[in-house]
C-alpha cells in the first residue's frame, strides 16, 4: 500500500465500485423510467471499465504498449517482444462488441419507454401497479 502505483490502482477500483453502487441505487429507487435508463447506461459502462482494467498489466521500467504491431515483423523475436510488453487484447475484443450491442438494446428500451409514456401519460413507474390511469 505504500507504493504510489498500487495506491492509485486501489483508488481507481474503489471509485468504480462506488459508481456501481450509486447506479444500482438509481435503478432500484428512482421512480422515473428515464432516470432508470440513465443509471443503467452508467452501470454497464462501469462494468466494461472493470473488464478493461482487468486486462491491464505492468511492465518493469516502462509503460505497456497497445496490442498492435507497429510494422511488419522481420523475425519471431519481435512477436515475443510484443507479447512481453502489450496489454491483454481479449477483454478489449469482448467489450468492443458489448458497447455496440448495448447501444442497440438501449435504443429498443428507449422505444419501450416512449410507448409506456403514450399509454400511461407518465414515466413514473408506480403508476403501472395501480392499473390504468386517466
Amino acid at each position: 500500500m505504500s507504493d504510489p502505483t498500487s495506491l492509485m490502482f486501489t483508488t481507481i477500483f474503489i471509485c468504480l465500485t462506488v459508481n456501481i453502487g450509486m447506479s444500482l441505487y438509481g435503478i432500484f429507487v428512482r421512480p422515473s423510467l428515464v432516470k432508470k435508463f440513465i443509471a443503467l447506461t452508467i452501470f454497464s459502462d462501469t462494468l466494461n471499465c472493470f473488464a478493461i482494467a482487468l486486462g491491464f498489466r505492468r511492465v518493469v521500467g516502462s509503460y505497456p504498449s497497445i496490442a498492435v504491431l507497429a510494422a511488419l515483423p522481420e523475425s519471431p523475436e519481435q512477436l515475443s517482444q510484443l507479447a512481453s510488453t502489450a496489454v491483454d487484447p481479449l477483454p478489449q475484443a469482448l467489450v468492443l462488441t458489448a458497447v455496440v450491442i448495448g447501444l442497440a438494446v438501449y435504443m429498443f428500451l428507449a422505444g419501450l419507454i416512449l410507448m409506456y409514456y403514450r399509454y400511461y401519460k407518465t414515466t413514473h413507474v408506480e403508476v403501472a401497479r395501480g392499473g390504468r390511469v386517466g
Binding site: F9, R58, A67, L114
Partner: protein, 270 residues
C-alpha cells in the same frame, strides 16, 4: 416508502464495501500483474505470424483478429442481436412515414456552416478507421459508429426534412443494414463454397490455411496486407452498424402528427 429506500441504500452501500474489500484484499488476484495470461500471449504471438501460418490470421492488430477471426462466430451472432434490436425498434414504433413540410428548419446558419466543414472530416475518419481495422486500432464497429454520429449530427443540424429530401428513408437504411449482414454471411462462407468447388476440406469463418484445410483468403493487395477476410468483415460491419443505428435514430425521432395521420381515426390506445 422511506424505509424501503433506506434499506435499499444501506444494502447497496454494504455491497460496495464488501466488493471493494474483496478486490483489494486479493479475491481476484493481483491487480495489474506483470505477467500476462497464456491465452493472451498466444493471441499476441500468433496475430501476425508468417512463420506459423496455420495459427495466424495475418492481421497486425490483435483486437480485430480476435473479433473477426478467432472468435468470429461469437461476433456474427452479436451482429444478429444488433439486427434483432433494430427490427424491434422499427416494429415497436410502426406507423412511421417520411413526411416533409413539417415546421422544422434546423439550427442557425453558424451551426450549419461549421457542420458543413466538419461533416466530410467525420465521414473520411469513419471510413479510414473501418478500412484500416486490421492495421491500426479501429474496425467495423468503430467506423460504423462514426458514420452514424455523422447522420445524427446532420439530421439535428439541418433538420430531418433535409435528410429525407436527400433520399434517405427507413426502407433504404433497412436494405443497407440487411445488405451488410448478407455480406458478412457471404464472406464467412466464401472459402467453404470455393472448397466445395475444388473438392478440399474447409471450415466456416476460415481466414488463413489451417490443418487439413489448405485454402486461404488473399492476404495481400499490391503491397498492403489485407488480413484475408478481415477487411471484408470490417467493411460490411461498418455498413451494417452505420445503417442500423441511423435507422433506429430516424424511427425514434418520428413526430406525433405522423403517427396520428397514419393511424387515422382509430382509437389506438384501446
Amino acid at each position: 416508502m422511506r424505509t424501503r429506500e433506506v434499506v435499499i441504500a444501506v444494502s447497496v452501500a454494504a455491497m460496495v464495501v464488501l466488493l471493494a474489500y474483496a478486490i483489494e484484499v486479493g479475491g481476484l488476484g493481483p491487480i495489474a500483474p506483470q505477467r500476462i495470461r497464456d491465452l493472451a500471449a498466444t493471441y499476441l504471438i500468433n496475430t501476425y505470424n508468417p512463420w506459423n501460418i496455420t495459427l495466424s490470421s495475418l492481421s497486425l492488430e490483435a483486437v480485430t483478429a480476435i473479433v473477426w477471426d478467432y472468435r468470429g462466430i461469437d461476433t456474427f451472432f452479436e451482429t444478429s442481436v444488433l439486427f434483432v434490436a433494430i427490427v424491434g425498434v422499427t416494429s415497436l414504433l410502426r406507423g412511421f412515414r417520411e413526411k416533409t413540410g413539417l415546421s422544422s428548419a434546423g439550427l442557425s446558419e453558424i451551426v450549419k456552416t461549421s457542420t458543413k466543414v466538419l461533416a466530410p472530416l467525420i465521414l473520411v475518419a469513419g471510413v479510414a478507421i473501418a478500412l484500416h481495422g486490421h492495421l491500426t486500432p479501429g474496425g467495423g464497429f468503430q467506423g460504423g459508429s462514426f458514420i452514424a454520429v455523422l447522420f445524427i449530427l446532420l439530421s439535428v443540424t439541418f433538420s430531418l426534412d433535409y435528410a429525407i429530401s436527400y433520399g434517405i428513408s427507413s426502407r433504404k437504411l433497412l436494405a443497407l443494414r440487411s445488405g451488410g449482414l448478407i455480406g458478412i454471411l457471404v464472406t464467412s462462407l466464401a472459402l467453404l463454397i470455393a472448397s466445395l468447388i475444388l473438392g478440399v476440406n474447409s471450415y466456416i469463418f476460415q481466414n488463413m490455411a489451417r490443418e487439413g484445410a489448405p485454402l486461404s483468403m488473399p492476404s495481400w493487395f499490391l503491397d498492403r496486407p489485407t488480413g484475408g477476410t478481415l477487411i471484408w468483415f470490417n467493411t460490411f460491419e461498418a455498413l451494417a452498424v452505420a445503417a442500423g443505428i441511423s435507422l433506429a435514430f430516424l424511427v425514434l425521432s418520428l413526430r406525433e402528427e405522423e403517427v396520428e395521420e397514419a393511424l387515422g381515426q382509430v382509437e389506438w390506445y384501446e
